[in-house]
């Protein structure tokens, strides 16, 4: 009996390894892949947005695209190696957590191109491009909208985990509220809380609920999967929420009044397009802001936000692009900004 089973197992293994040999091969199409951070590819947020950009590149530009999910931080390095072994021409790291692993991989394999979202190196190797976004700009705009639309005089911000990127969301938003206060002579307060997580939706819901109980009626989140809970709380309590990264209105059409869009898909698509056209911007950090159309408020904003506020937002956008308003992105620049008002 024992021997029979072993024989069956061995045959199965052999058959499978033969199958493995016969597969593979791919032609000379450009191959691009991305390694997600621990949020996974369906995070309703920037990993998903990046994958959408890559899929679009696959369709429009005829490149072969794929993704690989990371389940813990220790997965980054082996995932990047798998991506390398699969013969990809360009390998994306999505999120600042992949900053160090990408740099290390790029140094080891100078013939492969790498790109990273949300991370800028001080000294970028020739085969790497960094893609960063001015997330403080759309945050400023939605902060302004929130301050104009609140009825209780209190708005909330739920952050994922403290760090440069989320800090830019927070300070941009806070600055938008303060700017509206100054211009309109109001006194809207901002309640700020961090969830210490990018995945715990239950926690996002609990924090949003407590903010609504404290009297806030609009809550903005920059917290990845945690934000699902924030939007759910808004839906249950009949309050308002502001989405992030993608237009999240579809998650609660009556409650998500606008979203601070950070078009990671645009950034990803553009770099792949450049690569295809032989203009890969290696060795540089590409910065995307309002000017490039890569950050904005959601196109569905007109469903809830009155026209006159949207007109004011358009004017603000112009001021930001012209440099009349410099949106702060950290605590220090925020303090300067408030003092200058």
């Amino acid at each position: 009996m024992q021997k029979k089973i072993m024989a069956v197992v061995m045959i199965a293994v052999l058959a499978l390894s033969l199958a493995a040999c016969s597969s593979g091969g791919g032609g000379d199409k450009l191959k691009v892949t991305m390694v997600t951070d621990v949020g996974g590819v369906n995070d309703q947020s920037f990993n998903q947005s990046a994958w959408e950009g890559l899929q679009k590149a696959g369709k429009d530009l005829g490149v072969k695209v794929s993704y690989q999910e990371s389940h813990q931080d220790a997965d980054f390095v082996p995932n990047l190696e798998t991506a390398l072994d699969a013969g990809n021409d360009l390998i994306w790291g999505i999120g600042y957590k992949l900053g160090d692993p990408i740099l290390e991989a790029a140094k080891k394999n100078p013939d492969t191109k790498y790109a990273i979202v949300d991370f800028a190196y001080e000294d970028t190797p020739e085969n790497v491009v960094g893609v960063v976004f001015k997330q403080e700009q759309p945050s400023f705009l939605v902060g302004y909208i929130a301050a104009k639309m609140t009825k209780t005089g209190k708005v909330g911000f739920v952050g994922g985990m403290e760090g440069d990127v989320i800090s830019a969301f927070e300070n941009g938003y806070h600055a938008g509220v303060e700017y509206a206060n100054k211009v309109n002579g109001t006194n809207v307060e901002v309640i700020i809380q961090y969830a210490e997580s990018f995945t715990d939706a239950a926690k996002g819901k609990a924090i949003a609920n407590s903010m609504y109980q404290q009297g806030a009626d609009i809550v903005f989140h920059a917290a990845g999967g945690v934000g699902d809970g924030v939007i759910e709380a808004a839906k249950e309590q009949g309050k308002f929420a502001i989405g992030v990264d993608r237009d999240q209105n579809y998650m609660a059409p009556d409650n998500v009044i606008t979203s601070a869009m950070k078009r990671v898909d645009v950034g990803v698509y553009n770099v792949v397009k450049d690569l295809k056209e032989g203009k890969f911007p290696g060795g540089t950090t590409v910065v995307y802001g309002l000017e490039e159309g890569a950050v904005d408020i959601a196109p569905t904003s007109d469903k809830h936000v009155p026209k006159e506020i949207l007109d004011e937002v358009e004017a603000l956008k112009k001021d930001i692009i012209d440099g009349k308003i410099e949106v702060p992105f950290n605590q220090e620049t925020f303090n300067d900004f408030v003092n200058s008002l």
Binding site: H71, A86, D100, F198
Partner: protein, 360 residues
């Protein structure tokens, strides 16, 4: 005989798991042979892949042994995750702040991590023996306390690496990675961060097997596990043994965290969710039939599934959810050879029953 049967059923269970996984892949329109082929090639295709599989498996083997050990003594250690985090945290702290000569530094860091995690696990044992609080509840709670304690300390100025979400890296004297010169002759096997962790895990497995089967302590612990009241009647101090068992279980999980840090990551980062090294340990323990030696193989199998399985996605384009379901199903089946055993005995009994009928 028992052992042979057990192995037989485990192998049958693995095959059933693979078959059902294949059916699901077929149902969604992917070729299961190709998928499994990618997985096997992804694990055995290159010496580097094999070493990655071993690296992935090492912490799972240890947390598996931790859960198995507690289980043998009648305790359900759901706290392996938290003990892992404490072990990783203390190992990083010791690896960064202490300044000691190479080998000694690593040993001190490992021991400190074990000690801290032993106290962490032992606390749950203490609550159980002193106040009768169920260890399932306390260890789950302690998991979260460990989780946030770790995040809190990584944010501490002196420990956090500037402009990152991670702690400072351990000093090279605390590393348990194989020395670089060692590797060049063996090719790409050493391209991955190969380290002494796997050897430590195997030593621990045999040590725990010895403690359980051949020492007075092990005898007492197992007696408590079999029947607490009988053990007490027999003059065994149940309360003391509960604390000891949880301390040892904690130490093993802590060791898992420590070898992971000292061998692979060299740092800990802010956790946004539990990483699952301890929870997977429960599955490993189950697959390994709660035996320390079984955990070595179960851990390797589990690590291979996780490392190789996720390679299917980018090549075949199957959604990662499907891959997760397939891996889940395979684990589900290998975790329950008992059911397979039950099914086959019922069948053979029926058969025998039929023979009796006929002979009448």
């Amino acid at each position: 005989m028992m052992k042979e049967n057990r192995l037989k059923f485990t192998i049958i269970a693995i095959l059933i798991g693979l078959v059902i996984g294949a059916i699901i892949l077929l149902a969604v329109g992917y070729n299961p042979l190709e998928a499994y082929g990618i997985m096997i090639a992804g694990v055995f295709g290159s010496p580097k892949y094999i070493s990655w599989t071993i690296i992935k498996s090492t912490p799972l083997i240890l947390t598996g042994i931790s859960v198995a050990f507690a289980f043998k003594t009648g305790l359900f250690n759901i706290g392996a995750e938290g003990q892992f985090i404490i072990g990783a945290l203390v190992a990083t702290l010791a690896g960064y702040f202490l300044h000691l000569p190479p080998v000694l530094h690593a040993i001190v860091a490992l021991l400190l991590a074990c000690l801290a995690a032993a106290l962490w696990g032992g606390f749950a044992g203490f609550l159980k023996s002193k106040f009768g609080v169920n260890e399932v509840i306390t260890t789950i709670m302690l998991n979260w306390i460990a989780f946030y304690l770790s995040n809190f300390l990584v944010y501490w100025d002196k420990f956090k690496r500037p402009n990152s979400e991670a702690s400072q890296k351990i000093l090279s004297s605390a590393s348990i990675a194989f020395p670089k010169e060692f590797g060049s002759s063996l090719g790409s096997f050493f391209n991955a961060p190969v380290n002494f962790g796997f050897i430590i895990a195997i030593l621990v497995a045999f040590l725990i097997k010895y403690v359980l089967n051949d020492t007075t302590l092990g005898y007492e612990l197992r007696a408590v596990g079999f029947n607490k009241d009988a053990a007490e009647y027999g003059g065994i101090n149940v309360k003391k043994n509960t604390i000891t068992a949880m301390m040892i279980a904690g130490a093993i999980s802590g060791l898992a965290g420590a070898v992971h840090v000292l061998g692979v990551t060299n740092e800990i980062s802010i956790l946004s969710a539990m990483e699952g090294n301890g929870f997977d340990g429960m599955a490993v323990s189950l697959i390994g039939g709660n035996s320390p030696i079984g955990c070595i193989f179960a851990g390797l199998l589990f690590g291979a599934l996780k490392y190789g399985g996720y390679k299917i996605q980018p090549i075949m384009g199957a959604p990662s959810e499907i891959i997760n379901i397939v891996i889940g199903i395979i684990v589900f089946f290998i975790a329950m050879p008992k059911m397979i055993e039950g099914l086959t005995t019922i069948r053979s009994r029926r058969k025998r029953g039929g023979e009796v009928e006929r002979s009448k």
